[in-house]
């Protein structure tokens, strides 16, 4: 059994690593530029970040590193593309590489666009009419984004149209010509074959994934885009409520479900059984977000019955005693608890009933009855243990169910827990928070499964690992 547990724990690690890679990928494909998000600046605003500030934040976030230990790409891609500062520029360059394959020319073109961006700021205001200046600025910035030939040509046409030959705009005009020449060189000497030759790059452990994951296991989850506070701090404030409600809910579930399942199994094929089974089945199928909505609409609104508060956890005055606080809190938590519990309660009771029924069919139960053991003893002493076995395993399934349930209920009742935090992060596109919570949910679920498997091996010695 020791060997089994050891094996089970050893398997935990690669699974966790694979999940972390998946979550990291999700994070990578998230839209937007994290540097702008953490700085709280809209990249399209009139005052974008200065290159220095941009690079400083980028370095702090570790985004100047390569993404993974290794990459597979085509020969056309330089292994230094990740050093190009802006995510947006990287995307455009990557497109250009894909269509032309000649990195040196592309780089030259990109550099001349960069020069244009600086030069455009140096044009004296009075040398051009303001409209033309704005137009040129806009088009130069567009060049960073465009990768299609016709669009770039159009950009050039417009800049040509608006730039006038005065001494103060000579520099700019030369730069435009240089850019055009570089662009022509890039388009006319494509090495597209390079994009069809695969290459394999090895970067070592100094990469974004490695940094992210090693920080994650030290509980350093980075900063939230919204509040700019460490995510671990925010989670610390919220995890208590989720844990508390889940804990009460799990206890309620087991305390009610097991006797109910046993009762229903003992009275099989009676009216009582069919009533209980039907109710349980309906409860099991009732979507909790519908029930929560119904309860909020009909029990918490002045239009109908105004019995319960519709949201929050209550706000007991600071001088309130324990009982007063308890009263206010529980008044707020009754409905959420009900919605959180009834689904898993129904699920577990049905499983318990099924487990009990199959045990009651066993020979040893018939033997016990035949030799005159009291019915109460048959059930609670001989049968319950064996029928509890599957219920133990369900503990592992209840864990992810609880996490999903917490999302539904916390959003609907505005409880300040992890589920609501996840939802707010998704709506606000706050990806560090999203990936942290996904990782934590996965980790908790895996630990749940691990504990259940070990428990099971302890309870039932027949289990072996295969």
């Amino acid at each position: 059994m020791f060997k089994y547990i050891l094996k089970r724990i050893l398997i935990f690690i690669p699974t966790l690593l694979v999940i972390s890679v998946m979550v990291f990928l999700l994070n990578m494909y998230a839209p937007g530029d994290p540097v702008y998000s953490i700085a709280g600046i809209d990249p399209n605003s009139s005052k974008p970040l200065s290159p220095g500030a941009y690079n400083a934040i980028k370095k702090e976030l570790g985004l100047d590193l390569p993404t993974f230990y290794f990459t597979m790409s085509s020969k056309a891609y330089p292994d230094t593309l990740h050093r190009i500062p802006k995510k947006e520029h990287q995307a455009t360059l990557s497109r250009l590489i894909n269509s032309y394959g000649n990195w040196d020319e592309i780089r030259a073109y990109h550099k001349s666009v960069e020069k244009m961006e600086v030069a455009v700021l140096d044009i004296p205001r009075d040398s051009l009419n303001p409209k033309a200046l704005i137009k040129i600025k806009e088009k130069v910035r567009d060049l960073y984004r465009e990768y299609k030939d016709d669009k770039i040509q159009k950009n050039f046409e417009i800049t040509d149209k608006f730039i006038t030959s005065t001494p103060s705009t000579m520099v700019m005009k030369d730069l435009i010509d240089e850019t055009k020449a570089n662009y022509a060189a890039m388009v006319n000497n494509p090495t597209k074959w390079k994009t069809k030759v695969p290459t394999f790059n090895w970067y070592g452990y100094k990469n974004q994934y490695h940094t992210w994951f090693s920080k994650f296991i030290r509980f350093d989850f980075g900063k939230s885009y919204q509040s700019k506070r460490p995510i671990s701090e925010e989670i610390g404030e919220r995890i208590f409520w989720t844990m508390l409600i889940s804990f009460i809910s799990i206890i309620l579930t087991y305390v009610i479900a097991i006797p109910l399942g046993v009762f229903s199994a003992r009275k099989k094929d009676t009216t009582a059984d069919s009533v209980v089974t039907t109710i349980l089945f309906i409860l099991y199928s009732l979507p909790s977000f519908w029930i929560a909505t119904l309860l909020i609409v009909f029990l918490c609104q002045p239009e109908y019955l105004n019995w319960f508060p519709p949201y929050g956890i209550g706000d007991p005055p600071s001088d309130a005693g324990f009982f007063e606080t308890f009263r206010i809190r529980s008044y707020h938590l009754i409905l959420p608890l009900f919605c959180w519990t009834y689904g898993s309660l129904a699920f577990l009771s049905r499983q318990m009933r099924g487990g009990m029924l199959s045990v009651l069919r066993q020979d040893y139960v018939r033997t016990a009855r035949a030799k005159g053991v009291e019915e109460r003893k048959v059930i609670w002493k001989h049968s319950i243990r064996n029928s509890l076995l599957p219920v133990i395993t369900l503990f592992g399934n209840i864990f992810p169910l609880m996490i999903s349930g917490s999302i539904v209920i916390e959003i609907l009742f505005s409880l300040p827990g992890m589920g609501q935090y996840l939802y707010q992060a998704i709506v606000a596109q706050n990806f560090p928070v999203v990936s942290t919570i996904v990782m934590m949910a996965a980790l908790l679920t895996m630990i749940g499964y691990l504990v259940v498997d070990i428990l099971y091996a302890v309870v039932d010695p027949r289990i072996t690992f295969d």
């Binding site: 398997i11 690669p14 699974t15 694979v18 999940i19 998946m22 979550v23 999700l26 494909y29 998230a30 839209p31 597979m72 790409s73 085509s74 497109r95 894909n98 994009t195 069809k196 695969p198 089945f281 309906i282 099991y284 199928s285 009732l286 979507p287 977000f289 519908w290 909505t293 119904l294 909020i296 609409v297 009909f298 609104q301 239009e303 109908y304 992810p400 169910l401 996490i403 999903s404 999302i407 539904v408 959003i411 996840l422 939802y423 998704i426 709506v427 596109q429 990806f431 999203v434 990936s435 919570i437 996904v438 949910a441 996965a442 679920t445 895996m446 499964y449």
Partner: protein, 435 residues
């Protein structure tokens, strides 16, 4: 098994196949049977939604000519026909028809009716005649609830069926490979193993990596194009794998070292993959994926499908672990059939029954997940009306009780029906009950 026994006992039931036995068992369960009938009825509503709730008349005579606008709509959207100029402008219901047959609900879910905002089912309504009544009420812009419910049925069924279709394809294939080959069943030559690893990398490179922009551009155009581009990627991938295996077969003839056969642990690989996916709570995973992608109902279906296959795979794996030891598989092997043929033609068809249970429950949960996502306003584009979205309206206006009741009831009933069918199938297929 039981089929053989019955044959010898009763000649009358000679044609009794396994499936007719299952059907008979299923019919004994009245609840499940009636659920199946109701589901069929709902499926008909979903199919004919355009004829039941539409802003256009089914048949009308306008300026001396007879039209069938609902049918014509299909032709127009396929590019086969064009609207006559008379119908291009103006509201359908304001026209003076010589003769007209309206659908039972003469509204589309998006049709605005400013005269009746927030009217309840029992309120007095300012409408021309009874057929224009909003039987189940309307929302802030006068959009009809009943019409939304009918078109929502279509979306719910589409989500359930497409998502579980995707899940079935992935689940059956991977589950069958895991169960049939186990850890020792799939033997490759050393050279083949090495070349296959290289082939997978190359196939990924040429099939997907170097075509990634083509695919993402296609996704921007339409979902159908994206599927097409993805499919070409898969073809390239498979093509490269076939070439690689041909090369390895050739090499094996000349280099004996490479020809030595080693087993590839398919089962371990696939069960680990299942464990990885099961370790992330379903809803959390789906929410995270939906958060980074552009809203699209097809994306929601695809995501649910690619996440929900593990249950099916586990069922079929367990079944095939049993089936592969049966005599007829050994016979097929002895006859020299290829492993793939034995697996797909003989082993899988005989182990599909538990999949039906998983599919029935899976459809229920897919519908539930989609409703919840659209309830939160995530993943489903703004113009698509779904049950979940209508239910969410009740949160902004609690006094419109009809939004709290009807869409939620629809979700509940549909989910319950599929669960009941799943239960009925479980009972019908459960070998324990045969004793």
């Amino acid at each position: 098994m039981f089929g053989k026994k019955k044959k010898s006992v009763q000649n009358k039931e000679e044609k009794q196949s396994y499936w007719s036995y299952v059907a008979r068992q299923f019919k004994k369960n009245k609840r499940a049977l009636y659920s199946l009938y109701v589901v069929m009825f709902l499926a008909v509503i979903a199919l004919l939604a355009d004829f039941i709730a539409n802003e256009k008349p089914i048949v009308c005579k306008y300026e001396g000519k007879v039209y069938m606008p609902v049918f014509k709509q299909y032709a127009v959207s396929l590019g086969l026909a064009k609207w006559p100029t008379a119908f291009k402008n103006g509201d359908w219901k304001d026209k003076q028809y010589d003769f007209v047959v309206w659908p039972p609900v003469p509204y589309l879910p998006n049709n605005l009716d400013y005269k009746s905002r927030w009217v309840g089912p029992f309120d007095k309504q300012d409408v021309k005649s009874k057929i224009w009544r909003h039987w189940l009420g309307s929302d802030d812009l006068g959009r009809d609830v009943l019409s939304g419910m009918i078109h929502g049925t279509r979306i719910a069924f589409m989500v359930g069926i497409i998502a579980m279709g995707i899940a079935c394809i992935i689940g059956i294939f991977l589950g069958a490979c895991a169960g049939y080959f186990g850890d020792t069943g799939l033997e490759l030559s050393r050279g083949g193993l090495m070349l296959n690893i290289i082939g997978i990398l190359l196939g990924f490179f040429y099939g997907f990596y170097s075509r990634s922009y083509i695919m993402s551009d296609a996704f921007g155009v339409s979902f159908g194009k994206a599927i097409g581009a993805f499919f070409i990627g898969i073809l390239i991938f498979l093509g490269i794998l076939i070439i690689v295996n041909l090369i390895s077969a050739l090499l094996n003839k000349f280099i004996p070292f490479l020809a030595k056969r080693v087993a590839f642990p398919v089962d371990i690989a696939i069960t680990r993959l299942i464990e990885v996916i099961n370790s992330i709570p379903l809803l959390v995973l789906i929410l995270a994926i939906v958060a980074i992608a552009k809203p699209s109902i097809f994306l929601v279906m695809a995501v649910i499908g690619t996440v929900r296959w593990t249950g099916i795979a586990r069922f079929i794996r367990a079944e095939l672990l049993r089936v592969r030891r049966l005599e007829y598989i050994e016979a097929a092997n002895a006859l020299g059939f290829s492993q793939m043929r034995t697996m797909f033609k003989h082993a899988i068809p005989n182990s599909l029954s538990p999949v039906f249970i998983a599919v029935a429950f899976g459809i229920a949960s897919a519908i539930l997940i989609e409703s919840f996502l659209s309830f939160l306003g995530l993943g489903v584009p703004a113009e698509t009306i779904t049950w979940g979205k209508m239910l969410a309206i009740s949160r902004t206006n609690p006094s419109a009780w009809w939004f709290a009741i009807f869409p939620g009831l629809a979700i509940f009933i549909t989910v319950t029906l599929f669960n009941l069918i799943g239960e009925g199938l479980t009972d019908a297929l459960d070998p324990r009950l045969k004793q």
